[in-house]
Symmetry: C2
Subunit: 155 residues, 2 copies
DNA sequence: TCGAGACTCATACTTTTGTGTGATTTTTGA
DNA sequence: TCAAAAATCACACAAAAGTATGAGTCTCGA
């Protein structure tokens, strides 16, 4: 715990130490160059410059990094992001088979192709599609596709 | 031009000025408190602390911000992000009118409705649609819708 | 100005789609 | 278990979609 604290305040401790160190250095230097004119100003200037540097160094180390949030546009194909709108689907009251037919219609299949895919007769597919058009309140397969996509009940 | 330069180096000039100012201040203070013991060390410490502050301030102002790039995924629905795939559209060789018909077909409109919308005859719409089906290599309007959406040539 | 492509339209025909009605079987939930 | 819903299918008809062919007009670039 106290070690943690030490670690956390490392910079501050280091700063204090360097400050103290420099003062000792200055005192020692004072003895040697006290005779010099304007020695004080020179020292003061040196300290100012040095500690400006220390300050800069401190700031750069301690400054919280500015978090730059880059909004990355992620284009995701409709298939991967598709989540079926269960509510709307429920509301329509489409049966499992009707939804299946609707999905196949949306892929561009003809009634005959759908019949073959589902192993039922063409008439059955027609019945299903006609019924689902009624439930969806549309008049054609193309309208059904458009509406179903807008309602997010198919991909 | 020289004004620009002045502006650009404002911080540096300010720093120099404050440094000079402080030295004058110190010289003046020296005359008054020279009698104090350890005055020099006190001054030196004060200078160190002040210029550490100056350094920090400078660093924070001038330093390039440490940027932590956080990629935030922005999900965008298909409708709002729609950009027509010009290349594919070009490749298909659809005429302006054919594309118009295709777009209206995709909204679920019947040929008759499209004819009325475009102020042309039903036969004209049929001709356009038949031609565009040929160019798109599909056999029905539903297939055309599916393919066009996948090719991103319609919304 | 000449030809190619675009746009228009018609006619005739085929195919597909959609509706209406009725019926049988299966599934399912109360 | 019993009724309702779902799924299946047929037939007949109507409506829409799609194809093939031919043709007239218009625009635009070579």
């Amino acid at each position: 715990m106290s070690f943690e604290l030490l670690k956390k305040n490392k910079q501050i401790i280091l700063y204090g130490a360097s400050l103290a160190g420099l003062l000792f250095l200055l005192q020692w230097l004072e003895l040697r160059f006290i005779i010099m004119d304007h020695a004080f100003e020179i020292y003061a200037g040196a300290i100012a410059i040095i500690f400006t540097g220390v300050g800069i160094w401190l700031a750069l180390r301690l400054a919280k990094p500015k978090t730059l949030i880059v909004e990355k546009e992620v284009y995701i194909s409709a298939e991967t992001t598709f989540v079926q709108n269960e509510n709307e689907l429920e509301r329509l009251g489409l049966s499992k088979r009707e939804l299946e037919v609707l999905q196949l219609i949306s892929t561009g299949m003809s009634n005959q192709e759908i019949a073959e895919r589902l192993f039922v007769s063409l008439n059955t597919v027609k019945t299903h599609s006609s019924n689902l058009f009624g439930k969806m309140d549309v008049k054609s397969r193309t309208q059904a596709i458009d509406k179903a996509k807008k309602m997010q009940i198919i991909a």
